[in-house]
C-alpha cells in the first residue's frame, strides 16, 4: 500500500527524449491506467517507476521517499509483464515461490502464501505444472500470482491482457478489477486499449509522445476532454471532428456555422472564441441523431457504409459540404442503406469545441 509521486520525470535514450518532464501523483489504493497509442512512452514510464530504467532527471517518490537510486529489487514493487515472463523451467509453485526464496522467507510461510495466492486465482490444481503446459489465461494468472505473493507496495501491469483472446480479455479484466477491490492495493496498469482504461481505472492518464495529455476519472475524460487528442482517443467509436466557423456567443454558449451553412448555438465553452475563427466541433457518434426531415437537419450525410450490430447501428458517411468523414451511432436497427443521404441533428449540450491548430485545446 503506497503512494507514488513523479516530479518532472525525464528519460532520454542517447539523444532521444522519450519522457518529457512528467508530473503525476498516485494516491494509496488507486487503480491508475496509463493509456496512449504505441510509442507514447507509457511502458517506459512504468519501467522508470519499477526501476528497470534510470531516469535522466526528475524524481520518483514512493511513500514520500525518493527512490531514484534504489535498485528495482528493493523498491518493493511487482510487475506483470506483457509476455508474462514466467520462468519456463520452473513449475507454477516454483515460479511463485522464487521471489520469496530470494528474500529468505521461511519455507512454511512461502508454502502458505503460495497456497493462498493459488486459491485466490484458482490455480490450486496447476501448481506442479510448467508454464508451457498452461493456457494463456492460466499463465496470466500465474504471473499475477507471482506478483501477489510478494505483497508489493505497488502492482505494475504492462499490457497484461494484450496476448489473450477477446473473450478471455473481458473476463480477466473483471478478475483484475475484483482483485484490486480485494487487495485494496495501489495498481498501475498500462494499456493501449481505451476500453480497458475506461472499464478498470479509478484514474486514467492519457499519454502522447512522452507527455501527459490529461489525467482524470474515466467519465471526466469522456465528458470534458482537455484537447482534441484525448477527445479522439477516449470513446469508441471515435469522436467526430467537423470544421466550423465561430459566430457570436451569449450566456447560453457559443454559436458556430456548420459546413452546410446551418447554425448551431448553445455549445458550452470555457472561453469565448473570436468570431470568424476556424474551430473544430467535436461530437461523439452517440450524440448525433438521424432525422427523416433533411430540411430540419443541421448536417446532411451521404452514407458510405453501415454496421448493423443489432442493438445499435453505426453509419459511416461524408458530410455533404466539406466532405468530412463522420460516424453516427443510431439506436436499434436502421432502414437506411448505403448511398442514401440522411439528415443529422446535433445535441449542442454534448458537443465540444477545439482550437483549429495542432494542439487542439478545448475551448
Amino acid at each position: 500500500m503506497a503512494t507514488l509521486n513523479l516530479r518532472q520525470l525525464v528519460k532520454e535514450f542517447e539523444a532521444t527524449r522519450v519522457i518529457h518532464g512528467v508530473d503525476l501523483a498516485v494516491a494509496d489504493g488507486e487503480f491508475v491506467v496509463f493509456v496512449g497509442p504505441s510509442g507514447c512512452g507509457k511502458s517506459t514510464l512504468l519501467r522508470l517507476i519499477c526501476g528497470l530504467e534510470a531516469p535522466t532527471s526528475g524524481d520518483i517518490e514512493i511513500d514520500g521517499q525518493r527512490v531514484n537510486h534504489v535498485a528495482a529489487a528493493d523498491r518493493g514493487l511487482a510487475m506483470v509483464f506483457q509476455s508474462y515472463a514466467l520462468y519456463p523451467h520452473m513449475t507454477v509453485r516454483q515460479n511463485m515461490a522464487f521471489g520469496l526464496e530470494n528474500v529468505r522467507t521461511p519455507r512454511e510461510i512461502i508454502e502458505t502464501k503460495v497456497r493462498e495466492a493459488a486459491r485466490l486465482l484458482q490455480l490450486d490444481t496447476l501448481l506442479e505444472r510448467r508454464p508451457t503446459q498452461l493456457s494463456g489465461g492460466q499463465r496470466q494468472r500465474v504471473a499475477i500470482g507471482r506478483a501477489i505473493v510478494r505483497e508489493p507496495r505497488i502492482f505494475l501491469f504492462d499490457e497484461p491482457l494484450s496476448n489473450l483472446d477477446a473473450e478471455l480479455r473481458v473476463s480477466m479484466r473483471t478478475e483484475i478489477t475484483s482483485l484490486h477491490e480485494r487487495l485494496a492495493a495501489t495498481m498501475i496498469y498500462v494499456t493501449h486499449d481505451q476500453v480497458e482504461a475506461m472499464t478498470m481505472a479509478d484514474k486514467i492518464v492519457v499519454l502522447r509522445a512522452g507527455r501527459i495529455e490529461q489525467v482524470g476519472a474515466p467519465l471526466d475524460l469522456y465528458n470534458r476532454p482537455a484537447n482534441r487528442f484525448v477527445a479522439g482517443f477516449i470513446g469508441s467509436p471515435q469522436m467526430n471532428f467537423i470544421p466550423v466557423v465561430a459566430g457570436g456567443h451569449d450566456g447560453d454558449g457559443v454559436a458556430v456555422t456548420l459546413p452546410g451553412g446551418q447554425a448551431l448555438a448553445g455549445i458550452a465553452a470555457r472561453t469565448a472564441p473570436g468570431a470568424g475563427t476556424t474551430l473544430l466541433l467535436g461530437v461523439r457518434p452517440e450524440h448525433l441523431a438521424l432525422t427523416a426531415n433533411i430540411a430540419d437537419a443541421q448536417l446532411s450525410l451521404k452514407v458510405l457504409h453501415l454496421e448493423q450490430l443489432g442493438a445499435h447501428s453505426l453509419l459511416h458517411g461524408l458530410v455533404a459540404d466539406g466532405g468530412t468523414r463522420i460516424t453516427v451511432h443510431a439506436p436499434g436497427q436502421t432502414r437506411v442503406s448505403a448511398g442514401e443521404t440522411v439528415g443529422v441533428t446535433i445535441a449542442p449540450r454534448d458537443a465540444h469545441l477545439f482550437a483549429g491548430d495542432d494542439a487542439g485545446l478545448a475551448i
Binding site: C50, A73, D74, F81, A85, Y87, G99, N102, R146
Partner: protein, 347 residues
Amino acid sequence: MIGFLAGTRGRGRFDWTDWFTYGYLTLGLFLMFGPVAWLVLSSFKTESAITEFPPSLLPMGTKQVAVPGEDKPKPVYRVTLADGSTRELAELRRIGLTSTMVDPARPDELVRVPIDQRTPVREFRLATENYAELAGKFDFGQYLWNSVFITVVATIITLLFNSMAAFALSKYRFAGRKTVFLLILSTLMVPPTIVLVPNFLVVSELGLLNSLWGVIWPAVATPTGVFLLRQYMLTLPDELLEAARLDHASEWRIYWRIVLPLTAPALAVLAIFSVMWRWNDFLWPLVVLSKSEKFTLQLALNAFQGDLVTQWNYLLAMTVITLVPVTLVFAFLQKFVTQGIASAGVK
C-alpha cells in the same frame, strides 16, 4: 527404421539420384568407419596375427587343443601323411625340418612329419588377452584416472567460466562490451602452436609443470565456448531477467537459477566439445607432463610405442579403450549438438 534406411527418391524404384546418394554414402561410411573397424578388429588379434602377411580382416588364430600330459594347449595342423591321407594333429615340438605331432585322442602315438607337409588349422578367435593383460602390463589405471580427472574438471570449469563470460557479454550493457567480445573472438585466429611457448613459460613460472592443473588451467577459457553460449543467451528474453530482478534475485542468482538452466542445450554442446577436446588433447599435455605417473592415456599411448619394440596388440587394445568414452559421450549427447548449434546459429 528399415523404411528410413532403405528410403528412395523414386517411388518404389531406384532413381539415378538414389544410386548416387547410396554410392556416396557408402563411400563415406567406408572412408570414415573403415579405419575404426580395422582398428577394433586388429585389437583382437594376437601379436603374430597382426604382423602376418597377407593380413586377414577378421582376427584369426591357429586352433589350439589340450593334449593329455602337456601343460599348455598345442596348435593344431592339417597334416598330409606319407600314405596321402590327411589328419588333424597337434604339434608337440618342432626340431629342424621335422615336427613331432600327436593325435589328442591317442596321446601315446607320436607322428613325425616334415614341416612342409603341414598347414595350420585356423579359426576365428578373439585375443581377449590383449585387453585382459593390459592392466598388468603398465599403469593403465593411473593414466585413465589422469585423463578422466583432466577431462571432467576442465569441462566443469570451462562451462562455468565461459557461461559467466557469455552472461556478461549477452545480458549487460557496458562500455566496450563489443570490443571485449571481438577480442575474445579474435583469439580464434591465433594458432595454438604460436602460443605454445608463451603458455609453457607461464605454466612453468606458476610451478604447474608436471601437474594435472597445468593441463587444465590454460584450456578452460575457450573463445568458441564464449561465442556459442553468448549467441544462445541472446535468445533468452530480457524480461525474464527483469522479472527475476523484481523478484529480488541477486545477479548471481539470476545467473545460477534462471540463465544457466535455460542455457542447458548450449551447455550440453559445449560440454561435448570440451570432453572431446580435453580427452583427445595431445600436444599440450605432452609439453606440460613429462613424468610417466602424470601421463594421460594419449601420452601413454605415445610412450607405448617403444624405440625398438612396439607391442602392437596392446597398443591397439589401448587405443580402442581410449576411443570408447568420447564415442559414448557423443552418441548420447549428439542430439543436443544439433539442437544447440541450430538454435545458436539461427537466432
